[in-house]
Amino acid sequence: MASLASPSLSLHTVPGRARLAAAAGAPPRRRRVAVVRAKVREIFMPALSSTMTEGKIVSWTAAEGDRVAKGDPVVVVESDKADMDVETFHDGIVAAVLVPAGGTAPVGAPIALLAESEEEVALAQARAQALSQGPSREPHPPHAVAAAARAPPPPAPVAAPATKGIATPYAKKLAKQHRVDIAAVVGTGPHGRVTAADIQAAAGINPKPKVAPPPPPPPPAPPAAVRPAPPMASGAVLPPLPGGRVVPFTTMQAAVSRNMVESLSVPTFRVGYSMTTDKLDALYEKVKSKGVTKTVLLVKAAAMALTQHPAVNASCRDGKSFSYNTNVNIGVAVALEGGLLTPVLEDADKLDIYLLAQKWRVLLKKARTKQLQPNEYNSGTFTLSNLGMFGVDRFDAILPAGQGAIMAVGTSKPTVVADKDGFFSIKSEMLVNVTADHRIIYGADLAAFLQTFAKIVEDPEGLTL
């Protein structure tokens, strides 16, 4: 059983982009989106130390409109350890400062937008506006992987909130970190004060179970308001078996777990298809020396097939409509020590296999060092999971949230095949199993897609074009 960590941030970012495209008018959508991605870059709050969760902007050394070159210091950040100059990784123009000097932002949150050229400045500024007008929890919470993509919406502000704006120190800190407007949060603490748990609920973060609940203070303060149960209390907890060892989830593992549970709400079905791979194997032998892996070939094949079957590249976001994606971005499941990530090969249909292979190496390296940028793991429109290298002949993948289909590829192994004339021969055969969201993808769609995919795999010359 393979399971996939879905790009948990996808819900966050993609609508952001969509909104941006809308805000910027509606020229050819496809180009527009590509431009946004390529030419306007976000400058993120860097992690300056292993314990840093948020950073304070001491000062901006580059102002809006300044042209900066790669390696130029642009901002001074105060971390939990020291003040440090932070350099930009790209050339460009500082188009918009999202977090002014004196402000704080969690690690990984965008603090400025960098436009590649003058033309993009306006675009970036529009985007900055969109960001600042977005919901209060628009900036990514510190742990990108653990981001609560599916958090319950913040409680609707009550018309006349009982809170007097009194919030505890930690609540204030969290509110600042997650950009929660305290005034809009209804305090459930003693005397109606806003507590850290209230902010966490508003920001959609699972409050950590309090490990050491301090005993109630003896002062005769009668509990004015009983604290509600933690909002995300889910499922019964089984008692541990004696002699066992309990290891809590890492943030990545917690994200995987959450995404897997969420996938249960999607009605899925599966279609399998076997195809011969002798020609693909031969091609692989030829291009192996150039760093192209079997996975890259399969990604390319899937991407080519998807361009012919846009329904399979679509997704159902609201349960009411198809969202056809203009790009073919293929996420590939990668096992990491103690976790699972799906780095995304963007525009896999447009790049040739050598470029894809090169990109893939970079992504893998980043994934292993946990340096993937959000758009590098949450922009997938289709996912591929390959367990062939383990000799697995077939398996079944769980559909990640926000995508229409996921492909599970087994090993290709010599199989006795009979042709229509009754001749037996030995051919390498591979089983491919696709799981899809039946709300938008029907059996025939998937079958047709698999047929196209099989054709490409069985006659792979097109892959190298």
Binding site: T168, V211, P217, P219
Partner: protein, 562 residues
């Protein structure tokens, strides 16, 4: 021995004629007995004590104390009012010097430090340090440790603090009893020259005479007006140390040592803390650079917020279902700014001298804001600015430097004087420490103080710093946060101040404080060897980093060239 004592008294009496000097403690006066190294052969603190010989003297004294009446018709050579750490230090040294000594205590032996201060707070801080470590998943993980869950039992923590206090108290009592110090119970009052009355309420009072008297009555928490203490939700360190509750949210009024240490304890035990500080910056007493770093390490990452530049003009305890209400007014304009609603408030606005009922009026001494005025030899000054013979005041009651060990050092200094050896304590060599996690410690001047002094006296100062991040032992412990900072005279290499924030800073400061006390200069101490790998190498690095313009220093300070 008795004769020596007598001689010393007359000597100090003679000296007292010109002893009207009363410079503030933190400003080094012209007279520095323990100044530069080798300059003053008579400097008592330089003596290498011949321990066995002294012990023998002490034993002899213990055997005779009480059996023989004090010389000259006095009941005692020395009577100390107040058995805190200052009185205790003085008593021990007095016995060692062969003085017949009594100590009067109206409450419990050990005073504030042992019962309501340094000692129980260290027990709580020991707990908080461990809690903090166990809660820091990142820290544990980086060490390869797995801890499933942590928690604490408030009563057990409180008991630990209480048990520690009683243990230290009995140690203190026993040490004095063993040496033959008479412990007299009751409130001591000075009824006249060299005459003290003491007694418990409901018991007949007794009057004793003493050749010398030391006032060591200490201090109590200072509570500004407008603040109502109920001991449950609004309280001082006296109550807080009993740890009767761990409130969800506590305001700490005052961000000095006491407030900072309690913030460490409370946040480790799960409380959220709000500081209320009257000055514009938190931790106003610290070197600014250290305060800034301390804020980064001890305040910002924790569940703490703060209001600076405000007074808590009114604090009402929780009652009738209402929380603790704290009214904040602007420290300058006195305008109402905000009302805080918290679960508890700890008042840590400093300490007030405990000098009422001492009978000072009987000898024409007027306290200043409650403090007993003294000169640099701790001799009490009367209302006319003259020294009151044979009367000294040490510790918090004189307000020179309100630290337990300063009181003890002052007590020893006084005993030195009455034993015939003039002695002036160099307060700039007294270290101070704040036992947060990590700890903060300091000795001597802060950088702004040193710059002011340098401007006034016309010399250059230099500042060097080292980081705990570069220290092997600190990194092994995964506790690389912290710096050490040295301020010294560029020309002579004299150490003016050392400030440390980092793991075990409180234990590390003594190399620097000893150097200041002994007048060791930085160019000499840099050759001292430090065991590797130890935290002391942070200071080793610090001394080695200092560059002294030696050409000048040699010609000026070493006229007797080797």
């Amino acid at each position: 021995m008795q004769s020596t004592a007598a001689a010393s008294v007359s000597a100090s009496a003679i000296a007292s004629g010109g002893g009207a000097r009363s410079e503030p403690a933190r400003r080094p006066g012209g007279l520095r007995v323990c100044g530069l190294r080798g300059e003053s052969p008579a400097c008592p603190s330089l003596r290498i004590s011949q321990a066995p010989a002294r012990l023998a003297v002490a034993r002899a004294a213990a055997a005779t104390n009480g059996a023989v009446a004090g010389s000259g018709g006095f009941d005692y050579d020395l009577v100390i009012i107040g058995a805190g750490v200052g009185g205790h230090g003085a008593a021990l040294h007095a016995v060692e010097e062969g003085l017949k000594t009594a100590i009067i205590e109206g409450d419990v032996v050990g005073g504030t430090c042992v019962n309501r201060g340094c000692v129980p707070s260290k027990a709580l801080l020991a707990v908080s340090g461990r809690m903090r470590e166990l809660h820091d998943e990142h820290h544990m993980k980086s060490l390869g440790l797995q801890v499933s869950s942590t928690g604490y039992d408030r009563q057990a923590v409180a008991d630990h603090a209480n048990n520690l206090a009683s243990k230290i108290r009995s140690n203190l009592t026993n040490s004095m009893k063993a040496l033959g110090v008479d412990i007299l119970t009751g409130v001591g009052t000075i009824v006249g020259k060299q005459k003290v009355r003491y007694g418990k309420v409901g018991f007949p009072e007794k009057e004793i005479t003493a050749r010398n008297i030391i006032i060591a009555t200490g201090s109590t928490p200072f509570v500004p007006k407008g603040i109502e203490i109920d001991g449950k939700t609004v309280f001082t360190s006296d109550h807080a140390l009993k740890l009767e509750s761990v409130p969800d949210w506590i305001a700490i009024v005052g961000s000095g040592y006491i407030g900072l240490e309690f913030s460490d304890v409370y946040t480790a035990l799960g409380s959220e803390v709000t500081f209320v500080e009257a000055l514009d910056q938190l931790m106003p007493g610290f070197d600014p650079e250290i305060a800034k770093l301390a804020q980064r390490v001890l305040i910002n990452p924790r569940k703490i917020d703060y209001h600076t530049g405000v007074f808590a003009s009114k604090i009402t305890p929780a009652k009738d279902g209402k929380p603790v209400l704290i009214e904040l007014i602007d420290a300058k304009t006195k305008e109402h700014k905000e009302t805080l609603e918290v679960d508890a408030a700890l008042i840590a606005t400093g300490r007030a001298p405990f000098t009422k009922g001492l009978g000072l009026e009987n000898i024409n001494v007027v306290t200043q804001r409650g403090f007993v005025p003294v000169d640099e030899r701790m001799r009490v000054m009367d209302a006319d600015g003259n020294v009151v013979p044979n009367l000294y005041c040490i510790g918090d009651a004189n307000g020179k430097l309100m630290l337990a060990h300063a009181a003890s050092a002052q007590g020893i200094s006084v005993v030195e004087q009455i034993s015939g050896r003039d002695h002036i304590l160099n307060h700039l060599s007294i270290p101070a420490a704040c036992f947060t996690h990590p700890e903060i410690s300091m000795v001597g001047l802060t950088e702004p103080q040193a710059r002011e002094k340098a401007d006034k006296e016309g010399f250059e100062i230099s500042v060097v710093k080292t980081s705990f991040k570069a220290n092997t032992k600190a990194l092994a412990e995964n506790e690389g946060d912290g710096i050490a900072k040295l301020i010294y005279r560029s020309d002579t290499g004299e150490i003016l101040g050392v400030h440390i924030l980092g793991l075990h800073a409180a234990d590390l400061i003594h190399e620097a404080s000893n150097a200041i006390a002994l007048g060791t200069r930085v160019q000499d101490i840099k050759f001292a060897v430090h065991a590797h790998p130890t935290l002391s190498e942070v200071l080793d690095e610090l001394f080695k980093a200092a560059k002294v313009n030696s050409g000048v220093s040699h010609s000026v300070n070493e006229p007797v060239a080797a």
